[in-house]
Symmetry: C2
Subunit: 355 residues, 2 copies
C-alpha cells in the first residue's frame, strides 16, 4: 500500500466519467481512499452516490473541508475523472494547486500531464511534491518487443473483451478472478488500463499510452512475468476498447500476442452505437458476429457477460435467455446476479486447457 | 526537396534490413540521394547492388571517400538500416560522429534517438548540426483523436495490407498510385511508415511510434487532410505489419478507422513463418483465410500481389495461377510484371464506389 489518498472528482462523482473513482472506491490495494472531494455530493458517502452501497468513504466539499473534518490525513491526491480529450480542465487545476499546497503528491491518469503544466510543475518543485503522471510512457529502453516467450506460459489465459469501451470489462475480470480465488483456484489478473494500476495490480501496463510498436511485447511481458512469478492456474487479461470500435479498434493483440485462447465477452444489449460516437453511423456488431471474429483470431468465447444499462430487470433477463439460446454458452448479468453463473464454464475451460 | 543526402548502411546495402535505403534509392522527393556509404559495396552503383538496375547513385567506402570523390556535396546524412531492437549500433555511431563533424544534419528513423545519445547530442550542439529523429513522437497536443470526420471523405480508400511485415506493401502502394496517375486518375498515397516520410510523401504519420490511443485519429486525420487538400479520386493507404502477426497485429485500424473498404493484399507464398519469428510456432494464415478476416472487418479484397522471394519464375507463375483460380480475383507478381494486371480491377472498384 502506497498510502492514504483523497480523490478529486470536480462535481461529477455520480457520472460514468468518474469511473476511475468508482474503481478506487470499490477497492484499491495501492491507496487507502480516505475521502472524495466533490462539492455536488458533499456530506454523503461516496459508495451511496455510485451504486447505493455504503463504502465508508466520506465526500467533502473542498480540500479545506477535508483537512478540517477528515478522520485521517492524506499523502496523495488522485485526479478521479476522465475528461474530453484527456486534458486537465482549468477549474480542476485549482484543486490540484491546493493539493500541492497541502503537500499531497498528485496522481494523474489523464493524457495531459500535470508535469507539463508550467505553473503546477513549478509549484510542485517549490513545495517538494511528487507529480505522478501514470500515463507518461516509460523510456523505450525499458519497453519490450514481442519475442515468443509467451510460448513458455503453460496455463490458460482468458481475455475479458467487450463489444464497446466503458462497459465493465475490468470489473468482470476482477470479479471472475475473485470468484476463482474464493473457490481455491490460483487466479491472477493482468491489467491494461490506468485504473488497474491505481488499483494496485502488480502485473500489467497502460495500453493506450504505449507506443504502438511495443504493445504486443508489453502484453507478452506482463503475462510471462505474472506466470513466472506467481505460477497461477489461470490468468485473466483485461481487454481494452473493442475489435471494431473505430475510435480505437483493438482486442486482437490480447489473443494473438497474449495467446489468450479463451474469451469472456462483455456486451451492453441496449447500446447500438459506440460510446461517445452516438451520432456516427457505425453500429456495434452483434454478439454472434463478434464471437465469429474472435474465433478467426483463434480464441473461443467461453461466456458472455451483460451490462444492463438502460434495461429493466425483465429486459435484462430476456436478453440473457435470448443470447443463451442463440449462442449456446452461459450468459450472465454480473451486477445483478454476480459471476457464479459462468464459473462452471470457466472451470471447465481451465481443466481442459492444453497448450 | 529538403536537400542532398548521403545514406549510411554499415556494410549491409544488399540486405533486406537496408530496405529504408532501397526505398530512398528507388525514389525520394524529400532528399536528393548523392551517395551511399558502405565499405562492402564501394565502387558499385547502389541500384545494381539492390536490384541489378543502375540508379545513378555511387557507393563510397567512407564519408571521407565521399567528401573527396563525390560529384555533389551533401547537407544530410540518413541512417539507412533497420537494426534489431531499433538501437543504433556502436560501429554506426562512428559514421554518425564523422557526419556531424562534416556538418551534415542526421536523419534517423530508428527507435533509439540520436538526440538521446549524450556524446552525439553534445557534438551536434557544439557543431550546430540538426538531429532529426523521425520516430520522436509529436507532442500529444498535436495528435488527433478519432472523431468521425472520415465520414466526409467521399472517395474510395484502398489499403495495401499484407500477410506479414516486410514484404513490399509500400512499394506496391507506390506503384499502383503511379500507374493510376499515368492513366490520368488523380490518386494519392497516405504513408504510415518512416520510409514514406523519408520519401517525401505529404500525408501520413509514423504508425509504430505513435501512442496507441491516437492511432485511429491519426489515420483518420491523414486521410481527411489528403482528401480535403488534394480532392483525389482515390487514396492508397499504406498498411503495416499484418492482422495476425503476433509481434504487432494490426491492419483492422486501416479498415475500421480509415474506412478503407477496398484492400490490395500482399503475400509471399514461400514464407510460412512471420519474418524474424521463424523459430516460433505461428504460421502465416492462408490467403483465403486472411481475405475472410478482412471481409469481417467490412472490406473487400480487390486483388492480390505476390512477393516472389525464394520462388523460381515458374513457381511464381504457378502460385499466381493457383491463387487466381482459388480466389477469383486478379493476382500479380509486381516485381516481375509490374502492376498493370490489377489496374482494371482497381478502376472497376473506383468507378463503382459508393459511400
Amino acid at each position: 500500500m502506497d498510502g492514504n489518498a483523497i480523490v478529486i472528482t470536480g462535481g461529477i462523482l455520480h457520472d460514468n466519467h468518474a469511473k476511475t473513482t468508482h474503481g478506487l472506491i470499490r477497492g484499491s490495494s495501492r491507496y487507502n481512499i480516505v475521502g472524495v472531494i466533490d462539492e455536488n455530493h458533499a456530506g454523503k458517502d461516496a459508495g451511496e452516490v455510485i451504486d447505493g452501497k455504503n463504502a465508508g468513504v466520506a465526500v467533502y466539499s473542498s480540500i479545506d473541508d477535508f483537512k478540517t473534518n477528515g478522520a485521517e490525513q492524506a499523502q496523495y491526491c488522485i485526479i478521479g475523472v476522465a475528461t474530453k480529450g484527456g486534458t486537465i480542465p482549468p477549474q480542476m487545476q485549482e484543486d490540484i494547486t491546493k493539493a500541492i499546497d497541502c503537500g499531497y503528491a498528485i496522481v494523474n491518469g489523464l493524457h495531459e500531464f500535470v508535469s507539463d503544466i508550467p505553473h503546477l510543475r513549478d509549484k510542485a518543485r517549490e513545495k517538494g511534491v511528487e507529480l505522478i503522471d501514470i500515463r507518461k510512457p516509460r523510456p523505450k529502453s525499458e519497453l519490450e518487443f514481442w519475442s515468443g516467450r509467451i510460448k513458455t506460459v503453460n496455463c490458460p489465459v482468458i481475455a475479458v473483451l467487450g463489444t464497446d469501451c466503458a462497459l465493465g470489462k475490468r470489473t468482470t475480470a476482477i470479479w471472475v478472478r475473485e470468484g476463482l480465488v474464493k473457490e481455491g483456484v490460483k487466479a491472477e489478473m493482468v491489467y491494461t488500463g490506468q485504473t488497474g494500476w491505481l488499483g494496485g495490480y502488480k502485473y500489467g501496463f497502460i495500453f493506450d499510452s504505449t507506443y504502438n510498436d511495443f504493445i504486443s511485447g508489453e502484453i507478452e511481458n506482463a503475462v510471462v512475468e505474472c506466470y513466472e512469478n506467481e505460477h497461477p492456474e489461470v490468468i485473466l487479461l483485461e481487454g481494452q476498447s473493442s475489435l471494431r470500435n473505430p475510435s480505437g479498434p483493438c482486442g486482437s493483440e490480447f489473443i494473438v500476442s497474449g495467446e489468450a485462447k479463451g474469451v469472456i465477452l462483455q456486451h451492453a444489449p441496449a447500446r447500438t452505437k459506440f460510446t461517445g460516437l452516438e451520432d456516427i453511423d457505425n453500429d456495434i456488431p452483434t454478439l454472434k458476429d463478434e464471437i465469429a471474429l474472435i474465433k478467426m483470431y483463434g480464441a473461443e468465447t467461453i461466456a458472455v457477460t451483460l451490462n444492463s444499462t438502460d434495461l429493466s430487470p425483465e429486459q435484462g433477463l430476456e436478453w440473457k435467455r435470448k443470447y443463451e439460446e442463440e449462442l449456446g454458452i452461459p450468459v450472465i448479468l454480473p451486477l445483478e446476479e454476480g459471476v457464479s453463473g459462468i464459473m462452471p464454464a470457466v472451470h471447465n475451460y481451465i481443466n481442459n486447457f492444453k497448450k
